[in-house]
Amino acid sequence: MIREIHVEKLTEQIREMCIHATHFLSADMDAAMKKAWEDETNPLGKQILGQLQENLEIAGEEMIPICQDTGMAVIFLEIGQEVHFTGGNLEDAINEGVRRGYTEGYLRKSVVGDPLLRENTKDNTPAVIHYSIVPGDKVKITVAPKGFGSENMSRLLMLKPAQGVQGVADAIVETVAQAGPNACPPLVVGVGIGGTFEKAALLAKQALTREVGVPSEKEHIRKLEEELLARINGLGIGPAGLGGAVTALAVNINTYATHIAGLPVAVNLCCHVNRHIVREI
């Protein structure tokens, strides 16, 4: 049975989601930031985490974005295969939602239309859109506006299979260490292992949208997530990179099958303003 969905519905949802995600942390991130404040032992680190708590309160009460870098809009659409979109071009409708969200929501326009010519598009479009077709007649929308302080410190490595889990773990820890203060710790570390070159990067990005505190369903990966979180917090980088016990809030790892000759690893860092919001229509 085909279900028809007018694309204007998507536009309106995405408009709202862009505005909401940039002013309010999701419940999982909010809880993780409160816990970070409780756990931090370095007085300066604790002071900074206290400042970030105050910042979140001001953002929500006065509708000032949590961070001025309201990001490039990354949107995941899981489209049920029974869905038929009507009323216009799907991609245009998504970008219209981003345009309205960023202009009507007083969000920063941080997108340049060409990476070399670098002229600002003035409405934060286009979004980066990832589509997937799934069973059913629903559409699941995830909006994850991504800031570039942390995006710039992310890495993709094509390791050799012989480097194994140790090589993967070292690469992840090294990425966080090199990023230091630049990526605005405390971080959420999104990791993609396996697939191909581009699949690993996509897995890492998707890992950032997984709720903080929800471990991988795979036992060996869950253990790796725990080990890595402990190792990263042992680096002592701390809040804002000024020292402390809390460098990362979570390490989320997603995996996929890969080639006999390869071990791709992508590490997508996200600052403490890890924005992700999900709705289903």
Binding site: I66, C67, Q68, D69, N120, G149, N182, A240, L242
Partner: protein, 178 residues
């Protein structure tokens, strides 16, 4: 140590700040980030005047989000300073005294800070809503076409920052985790 200072800085005050000091800045600072630095560099090469006098002033690496109606500015936290490293030593040699940003700088910048008795402050990245409350006046003074990247003159009151790199060559980031 907690300190209250005024901007523009004096030579003496800039030199007296030490890595690790928690500082509240009151006075005038100027915003400039990637695109504005590029234009200022081009202006210097062409022998033109900069949008503001560098002498003893502080640049805040900031591209704010737009102001809502009735407000003067939106979210206003620091951006990553290293993208300005290419331009910074010359600005310091020409009189710039302080910078507010976040993240590591190059050795060339560190050397220029020492050479000129200057200072690099970190504001807390991702605290843009809180920091915006310490900004009392905003005026776009140059490169308006750059939107968020335009050069703005800000009047700030007790803007909270931390000294990361000082005139003696100390660097707080380098002592972290050791």
């Amino acid at each position: 140590m907690d300190r209250h200072i005024t901007a523009p800085l004096t030579d003496q005050e800039a030199k007296s700040l030490r890595a690790g000091d928690y500082v509240y800045i009151t006075g005038t600072v100027y915003t400039a980030r990637d695109a504005a630095h590029k234009r200022m560099q081009e202006a210097l090469e062409a022998g033109e005047r900069l949008p503001f006098e560098l002498e003893n002033n502080i640049i805040y690496y900031l591209g704010p989000s737009p102001a809502r109606e009735g407000k003067i500015i939106g979210s206003a936290g620091p951006t990553t300073a290293s993208r300005m490293d290419k331009y910074t030593p010359e600005l310091l040699d020409r009189g710039l005294k302080g910078m507010i940003g976040k993240g590591k700088r190059t050795k060339e910048v560190a050397d220029a800070i020492v050479r000129n008795g200057a200072v690099y402050f970190a504001a807390v990245g991702g605290a843009g809503a809180l920091l915006s409350k310490r900004i009392k006046k905003v005026e776009v003074i140059a490169y308006e076409d750059l939107g968020t990247e335009a050069v703005r003159r800000l009047e700030v009151e007790d803007l909270p920052v931390i000294v990361v790199m000082d005139a003696e060559g100390n660097n707080l980031y380098e002592t972290v985790g050791k």
